[in-house]
């Protein structure tokens, strides 16, 4: 790591935010676990421990120190990530035998899990032949927040940012990728087969360079004589296995993200200037859509209220603060508390949210049908025996009003901290 200490605002706020899941690890990483760390590297390279700051109070009230180094001070999570980062070996590929270009989605300015899987796959393909290692090139656009390029397995980073690249600019981006095709002559192009980003760009590039892309790829077999890949076809009902083409649009979990090497992520540039662009698609900007009123079928996070909600104002406020889309059981709709288009269930909308939070909903079969394809269900209910609790991944038994208002307090607090940092 470089010697320059850079202040990372995100980490800074995580450090102050005790509720953040990465709180402890960030603290440790920043060496802020406590006023003074519990252990440190002595001048001779020997690990030193402050006996007052390590260990925990055992059941008999006696202090115990766990020599495996796992146990931290009571109530404190071990600073695992520091240790993990230190185990990464740095890899430098100075003279790559070939290039593999990955065009990650960079949703929210960061490498997504899908991007990392893809980079993992690219790494595998690049490192297949140890004697003729290839370099993984990532081409990224616009303003970004990512800073762990190397850890994700990127050898070369081509970062282009200019105003015309913000928003939806597929034609411009394709011009850039075409230029990269000419200059780098990549052996493979890898895109995440996501609905907007890579899925769109990858197909554009594939037709531009006249290479029939393999799409919805979930498995790449590098061991066979000629490398082959398997992707979904016929809307997911078929597997198509074929020789690996030059352009690959792959699904999430197509590869394992890089975890134990760190790469150079050396910045590179295009040599030739880009030809002048004819803009045929103009981005007029985002349309403000209130999260609470997003179509239920498209919502990612739904706060749904039922007959057990007493304080509807509180409920609406919670939805607003959480940025959740509002849903309802039929009883809540029948009783006039919610609009009809908010009903979830057999006779309402079938939802596909990542998180579905059911507040005061008993979990009648007609309701549960509607949330079949939700990822995680949170239930807040007074009755521990109700069917919603059985369906839920996390159930909190208690009064809906109280729990929601506590939740609102916390989230408001987080937002406040966030504003302070910003």
């Amino acid at each position: 790591m470089s010697d320059i200490i850079r202040r990372d605002p995100r980490k800074a706020w995580i450090a102050r935010n005790r509720l953040h899941p990465e709180h402890a690890s960030v603290l440790a990483e920043l060496g802020m676990g406590d006023a003074q760390p519990a252990q440190w590297m002595g001048p001779n390279g020997v690990m030193r421990k402050d006996p007052h700051r390590v260990g925990f109070i055992g059941p008999a009230g006696i202090k115990r120190i766990d020599r495996s180094g796992v146990q931290g001070a009571p109530g404190q999570v071990q600073a695992r990530s520091t240790a993990a980062q230190d185990t990464r070996t740095a890899v430098l590929i100075a003279e790559p035998a070939f290039h593999i270009v990955v065009v990650p989605d960079m949703a929210g300015g960061r490498l997504s899990a899908h991007d990392r899987d893809l980079l993992g796959l690219a790494r595998q393909m690049a490192d297949k032949n140890a004697s003729a290692q290839g370099a993984v090139v990532a081409i990224v656009f616009g303003e970004l927040k990512e800073d762990s390029w190397g850890e994700a397995g990127i050898d070369r980073l081509l970062h282009l940012s200019d105003a015309a690249l913000e928003g939806y600019s597929p034609e411009y981006r394709i011009a850039i990728l075409s230029a990269a095709e000419r200059e780098l002559k990549p052996r493979y192009w890898l895109f995440p087969d996501s609905s907007l980003g890579g899925g769109d760009l990858g197909r554009r590039l594939s037709v531009r360079i006249g290479e029939r892309a393999a799409t919805q790829v979930w498995q790449v077999d590098l061991e066979s004589e000629t490398p082959r890949c398997t992707g979904r076809g016929a809307a997911g009902r078929k597997d198509i296995t074929r020789d690996l083409p030059r352009v690959l649009l792959a699904l999430a979990e197509c590869g394992e993200p890089v975890s134990d090497t760190r790469h150079e992520a050396q910045a590179i540039q295009l040599q030739q200037p880009l030809p002048e662009q004819l803009v045929r698609i103009e981005d007029l900007g985002a349309v403000a859509v209130d999260p609470a009123s997003v179509a239920l079928s498209e919502a990612e996070f739904i706060l749904s209220g039922g007959n057990g909600v007493r304080d509807w104002d509180g409920f609406h406020q919670a939805a607003r603060v959480l940025g959740a889309t509002e849903g309802a059981s039929r009883v809540a709709v029948d009783d006039g508390f919610m609009a009809r288009d908010r009903q979830v269930g057999a006779t309402g909308t079938w939802v596909t949210a990542r998180v579905y939070m059911a507040v005061g909903i008993s979990g009648a079969i007609q309701h549960l049908q509607g949330i079949q394809s939700c990822d995680k269900v949170i239930a807040i209910n007074m009755d521990p025996g109700c069917d919603m609790i059985k369906r839920a991944d996390l159930a909190v038994i208690g009064d809906s009003g109280e729990i929601l208002s506590e939740l609102v307090k916390r989230v408001d607090g987080l937002k406040q901290e966030n504003r302070d940092v910003a």
Binding site: N307, V331, D334, T347, A364, I365
Partner: protein, 653 residues
């Protein structure tokens, strides 16, 4: 003077009545053809009137007696008046008979008038409020003018003032009773009603018969409009039937959708069809409106669409989609009008021609087409619930005594409990049965009631073809909807089967002493009659007999048996889900609560789902199969235990 005027008046009125009749008949003839035997129908009419119609009217003895007096009196009076005053036959006997007839009519009219003093809301007002007065005018006038003929009063009594007064009364009476009967007035019901009875589309209904299956739609002609778009698309005898309505509102009083505040009133619907066949607006309708829809905003004629694509026409689509097809209206209608047929006919057009099945309707139909079940489940998963039961499947065993038809409840976790219970009962009784397993498809009930006759016929034909591959004596099912369709609606497509509902079957098993049942220990129990078992198929007794066999004394609801109130689950109503002020199952749960029952026994997966959808706390809902399965004393256990003993000893030895 009266001697001259009266014949003129009477024959003028008769002539006008003929004109009116010709017009009315030509209105009906706008409808599509329908094969009925005109003469045989006319011949059967008096019996249908006296027996079948009065069987229904007789449920309300007040109006039944009133009607006998008034209508009987009128018919006699009319005939005698023509003889005595029209043809001037000099006969004391006839005159006295006429006096008696008019007296009877007058007394009847008094009772009609009494009913009209504070009429229940189901009765229409408007011209119907005038009717008792018209009846009185007619009977009084003819009574008075007959007095001289009977020799009670001298001729010319009262002078010209009274004569003029009497003439005025006679004109009023004749106008209402003769001309109004055919041209259109409250008395139209007599003319149209009589002919409707004669030429009813479902002759099987009369003489104690039952005809509840929907009529198939001919899909052979690709250029024909499917279903009813315009009033003229009904058959002529359906139009005639609408015209017979007396606006008694008995249908309105029992309609669950109306009570729930959904925009449907069967009486208004029939009246709208009358408006449609003659042309005009509903502004003159003087009864309860469709809840939430003011009167006077709709109009139409025989050749314009009933439901507008946009805006308003004769009827709004949601009115048609509110119906649960519970047949309560048909059961109550003294004029034997077939509301459900009409509603489904109009739905057929909306679904098959316009593709406007509301809410989840389109999705359910798509599912039925693509997966053969309304929920869109994999057809190969139909038997998943029974993976541990080792049910014999017909594809393997080829023949069986009893084919257990599972219905789509096989995909529903709640109903699977009922099916398991019934399987347990069948096994305890040692019945040789089998299932179609994954070869079974939805019976087509929902598709048909949503108006999708094409999907119904496709499902039905494929089911019939599957059934034809195997040999079985009878079909038994826990689902009254499948039961009804298999029993009453597959016949016309070539599938004739002996079909039993599981309660009937269990009842027989009990009679045959094949079940050994423990006595009931729980609390008070009531029973909810499913529409498709009760009104559609007349099975009221078997479920009660089974409950009795369990030692349960059913605490009957006020509305039970043929008057049972629908749970709200039929006819695709939960799918189209037209909003009202309250929910039908909530009202039914109120009926249940009123009996003080802790448990309601049901015999239909749909009723179970609807009633269990009522928010707790509420009485428990159990299918009769479950109650029986719980009460089984399984000798098998005892036998098994003894059979196992020697083995254990062997093992020990």
């Amino acid at each position: 003077m009266l001697n001259i005027i009266l014949p003129v008046l009477i024959f003028a009125a008769l002539a006008l009545a003929v004109v009116g009749a010709v017009r009315r008949i030509s209105l009906w003839r706008q409808g599509r053809p329908s094969p009925v035997s005109l003469l045989a129908g006319l011949a059967a009419m008096p019996r249908r009137y006296l027996v079948d119609l009065h069987h229904v009217v007789g449920r309300d003895s007040y109006i039944s007696n009133t009607h006998v007096a008034t209508a009987g009196g009128f018919v006699a009076a009319a005939v005698l008046a023509i003889l005595v005053h029209g043809l001037q036959l000099e006969s004391r006997i006839l005159a006295w008979a006429l006096l008696a007839a008019t007296t009877s009519m007058f007394v009847g009219a008094l009772f009609v008038a009494k009913r009209r003093v504070n009429p229940p809301s189901r009765l229409s007002k408007g011209p119907w409020m005038r009717l008792p007065k018209s009846l009185m005018a007619f009977s009084l006038a003819f009574f008075l003018i007959t007095l001289p003929a009977a020799g009670i009063l001298p001729h010319g009594f009262g002078g010209w003032v009274l004569a003029l007064l009497l003439v005025a009364l006679v004109v009023w009476g004749l106008g209402e009773m003769f001309f109004g009967m055919t041209w259109g007035g409250p008395m139209k019901h007599a003319f149209a009603g009589a002919l409707h009875l004669a030429w009813h589309r479902r002759a099987e209904r009369f003489g104690g018969g039952r005809s509840t299956g929907l009529k198939p739609l001919n899909l052979d002609d690709p250029n024909a409009t499917l279903g009813v778009e315009k009033p003229a698309d009904f058959t002529w005898n359906q139009l005639l039937g609408f015209d017979a309505c007396v606006q008694c509102g008995r249908c309105e009083a029992v309609c669950p959708a109306f009570a729930a505040g959904q925009p449907l009133n069967p009486k208004k619907l029939i009246q709208d069809m009358v408006v449609g066949l003659a042309g005009g607006s509903d502004a003159h309708y003087a009864g309860s409106p469709y809840p939430g829809k003011p009167v006077g905003e709709h109009q139409g004629d025989a050749h314009s669409p009933i439901v507008a694509r946009e805006g308003k026409a004769l009827v709004d689509a949601e009115t048609l989609w509110s119906c649960t097809t519970c047949r309560a209206c048909v059961e109550e209608c003294p004029m034997m009008i077939e509301h459900v047929d009409a509603i489904v006919d109009m739905r057929r057009f909306l679904t098959l021609e316009r593709g406007e099945t509301p809410n989840k309707g389109a999705e359910v139909i798509d599912n039925l087409i693509a997966t053969d079940n309304p929920g869109g489940f994999a057809p190969t998963a139909r038997m998943n619930w029974a993976a541990d039961l080792n049910l014999p499947v017909l594809a393997e065993v080829k023949r069986t005594d009893v084919l257990l038809w599972l219905g789509d409840g096989a995909f529903d976790m709640r109903n699977q409990r009922t099916l398991r219970a019934f399987v347990k009962v069948l096994r305890a009784a040692g019945i040789n049965f089998a299932v179609l397993g994954n070869e079974e498809r939805d019976s087509g009930d929902v598709a048909r009631r949503l108006g999708d006759e094409a999907t119904f016929q496709s499902l039905a034909r494929r089911n019939i073809a599957t059934l034809a591959k195997y040999s079985f004596r009878s079909i038994v099912t826990c689902d009254p909807h499948s039961f009804h369709v298999l029993k009453n609606e597959y016949g016309e497509l070539g599938g004739e089967y002996v079909v039993h509902h599981h309660t009937t079957f269990i009842g027989k098993l009990h009679e045959d002493k094949k079940l050994n049942l423990r006595g009931w220990k729980g609390g008070k129990v009531t029973y909810h009659d499913p529409c498709y078992l009760g009104r559609y198929n007349g099975e009221y007794e078997a479920p009660r007999a089974v409950l009795r066999a369990l030692g349960i004394e059913v605490a009957e609801m006020e509305r039970s048996g043929f008057r049972s109130r629908c749970c709200g689950g039929g006819g695709g109503a939960p799918i189209t889900d037209i909003p009202g002020k309250q929910r039908i199952p909530d009202m039914r749960m109120e009926d249940i609560r009123e009996t003080g029952a802790e448990l309601v026994a049901v015999g239909c997966p749909q009723c179970t789902a609807m009633l269990e959808g009522v928010v707790e706390p509420r009485p428990e809902i159990r299918d009769i199969a479950e109650l029986v399965a719980d009460a089984l004393i399984e000798q098998a256990d005892a036998v098994d235990a003894t059979a196992k003993k020697p083995q254990v000893e062997e093992a020990l030895a």
